[in-house]
Symmetry: C2
Subunit: 388 residues, 2 copies
């Protein structure tokens, strides 16, 4: 293992990770840590969804009827987060600001309350921990809530992590594990020879060979990079998001506060994140007046003190979204070609389970059962493919 690390620069990598968002870096870190000689290619640029994510680790908020496979995987990944964060902090030699302030999912009128109670039924069926509270009980927990709050679900296990701090720690951990990151290196094409992936051609024309290739290019995974037969149906879904901070000492809430239309994430350092719009308009990162207006209006409706915060940043990210809103993680029909993508709004939440799955596939261990139903095979056009 240590020999491989020393020689990583000179020999063909065992794993080429295309993409340096939270998914690519998490997989690269776990792979390198397991002794796989790994090279990460980072295209750079402004499209990285992880940079602008709110960093909610809130599977209860994501539970939807008819998405059980996704939900089971999300719960497993949320459970894996504390040890993932602990190991990452140790490897990176840097704190990872993961914490569990809990969440309050609130209803602002009777219709929303009825819907939230219906979701609560689903939670019970899935065995999730959440308690129904009356409006006054919600306000006792979070005194900043608007008086219109008609009821809510307290979910004490829900967590958050600052994605920028997380990305920084992942980069340090990747390096500490002996892997290399090549910056400003975009991939134009994956090379396939006789049903096996053999390497990539970079945007500058250079060719890189590798034993295995992991595609973790977020919203770009559905693009020209991959051959037709294994190209996942991933499309960009823009999310506009705001970063704010208190002007004094007080923050608007202690827990994650979530409504049907908006969420408010308070960080330990005082930062407050308000997200996120959802819009299908291609590779367009422009922040609209309407999106910002909607976020501020809805946040103000639930937590009026939000109006007092300083507005620091209005940005947008592109969620990599599949037709069933669930990720595609695992082997493809092309041998040596792996996918870790389509995480929609759950990239941060799903990073630990995704990285565990990719590590298992690379080292021959048993991959997490929760990801079985989320393999790329469900979208492939040539289901006879046999995999890596």
């Amino acid at each position: 293992m240590s020999d491989q690390r020393i020689e990583a620069g000179g020999r063909k990598p065992e794993l080429l990770v295309v993409g340096a968002g939270v998914i690519g870096l998490s997989c690269a870190w776990r792979a390198a840590r397991a002794g796989v000689r790994t090279l990460v290619l980072d295209a750079g640029g402004v499209e990285r969804a992880s940079e602008v994510a709110a960093g909610m680790i809130a599977p209860i908020g994501e539970a939807s009827w008819g998405e059980d496979a996704l939900h089971v995987a999300a719960m497993a990944s949320a459970d894996a987060w504390p040890s993932f964060a602990g190991e990452l902090a140790a490897d990176a030699d840097r704190p990872v600001p993961y914490r569990r302030p809990g969440a309050l999912h609130v209803a602002l009128d009777r219709d929303e309350a009825a819907e939230l109670r219906r979701v609560h039924e689903l939670h019970r069926r899935l065995g999730l921990e959440a308690t129904w509270l009356r409006g006054s009980e919600c306000r006792r927990l979070e005194p900043g809530l608007a008086t219109s709050v008609a009821g809510g679900l307290e979910a004490p296990g829900e967590a958050e992590v600052d994605p920028r701090s997380l990305l920084h720690a992942l980069r340090l951990a990747v390096a500490a594990a002996g892997a290399e990151i090549r910056e400003e290196t975009a991939v134009a094409e994956v090379l396939v020879d006789g049903g096996r992936a053999t390497g990539v051609v970079l945007a500058n024309g250079e060719r890189l060979d590798a034993e295995r290739i992991l595609i973790a290019t977020g919203a770009r995974a559905g693009g020209e990079l991959l051959p037709d037969e294994v190209r996942p149906p991933v499309r960009p879904v823009i999310g506009e998001i705001l970063r704010l901070r208190p002007r004094g000492a007080e923050r608007p809430c202690e827990r994650l506060v979530v409504t049907e239309r908006v969420y408010v994430v308070p960080r330990e350092d005082g930062e407050v994140v308000i997200g996120a719009t959802m819009d299908d308009r291609g590779f367009d990162l422009r922040v609209t007046a309407g999106g910002v207006h909607e976020l501020l209006r809805e946040a103000y409706r639930v937590l009026p003190e939000v109006a007092e915060l300083e507005l620091l940043e209005c940005t947008a990210g592109l969620r990599p979204t599949t037709p069933d809103n669930a990720p595609v993680v695992g082997k493809t029909a092309i041998r040596g070609l792996l996918l870790a993508g389509g995480h929609h709004r759950n990239g941060i939440l799903m990073a630990p389970l995704t990285a565990n799955a990719i590590e298992a596939l690379l080292t021959g261990a048993e991959p997490p059962a929760e990801l079985e139903r989320l393999s790329p095979a469900r979208f492939e056009r040539a289901p006879e493919g046999v995999g890596a």
Copy 2:
């Protein structure tokens, strides 16, 4: 005249202008152009209100009962704008994007319509050109207006100028007229000897002598710089303001559109400015979530297509505001010390008249009669002062 210019670097300036916003630069330009050896001190920094101003030249929108002196001056300055812009463009050898798209002041309900009709009475009395239009007539002029628009005033003479482009042209014109601008040069104190201003002490301790000193430091004019007896009661009133641009070809309106709570200024190059909040909270330039929310909400109420615009910038500026909302322009009780400040929300609008007044005072010409009632004397504690 040409001798003085050539020697400006080496000899004591005849005029030291403290402040390089639109007022300071306009006065410096006119003074230098008239042959006065001029040095401008620019403190730099982010506080310059001119940088974030909307650049409306819309005296009708500013007309208020009981502010006749201000209004007469505003009208005179608006009338002076075309020749000011023309001369500036010639001296700067650069276009000045002054234009007159006209304005539509609209009412969004019957109460606002009643108030706007009352203002229209005032306009008639002041001899202003404005026509009352029904809601449908407003929408014929500006099809993007919300159907709730109940009526409005068309003011075809109202104009706008991009203040950043204006500042750039002023700097070029100041230099072309032979004056010098010293960057990053803050003034700590004005020196007074025997009732006459003799120079300034810079923040770095350096002393600069001058025959006359013009204070044009915006919201800072009420601070420690000036001796008590001539310090004008100028306070900062923050205004938050947004800059946007169309994502396609279409802009939300052709004219300046103004309601009781917001204005929307379309520029020739496509930029759209939405302003501005008003708040008394000292030297605090932080943009609040509540301020941005209010601007977007009110702009959306009157021009729904604003929601489609890309949001480029949320900033704030500090209006230099006096107790009667009118500027203080002219000589003070200390000989050789002049003031050009307190322009509140009318700095761009009032620049030509202010610069003409200062030029007249420096060259011994007759100052514009419209500024007589706006002299610093009205706020001075020692009215027996005789002036410069």
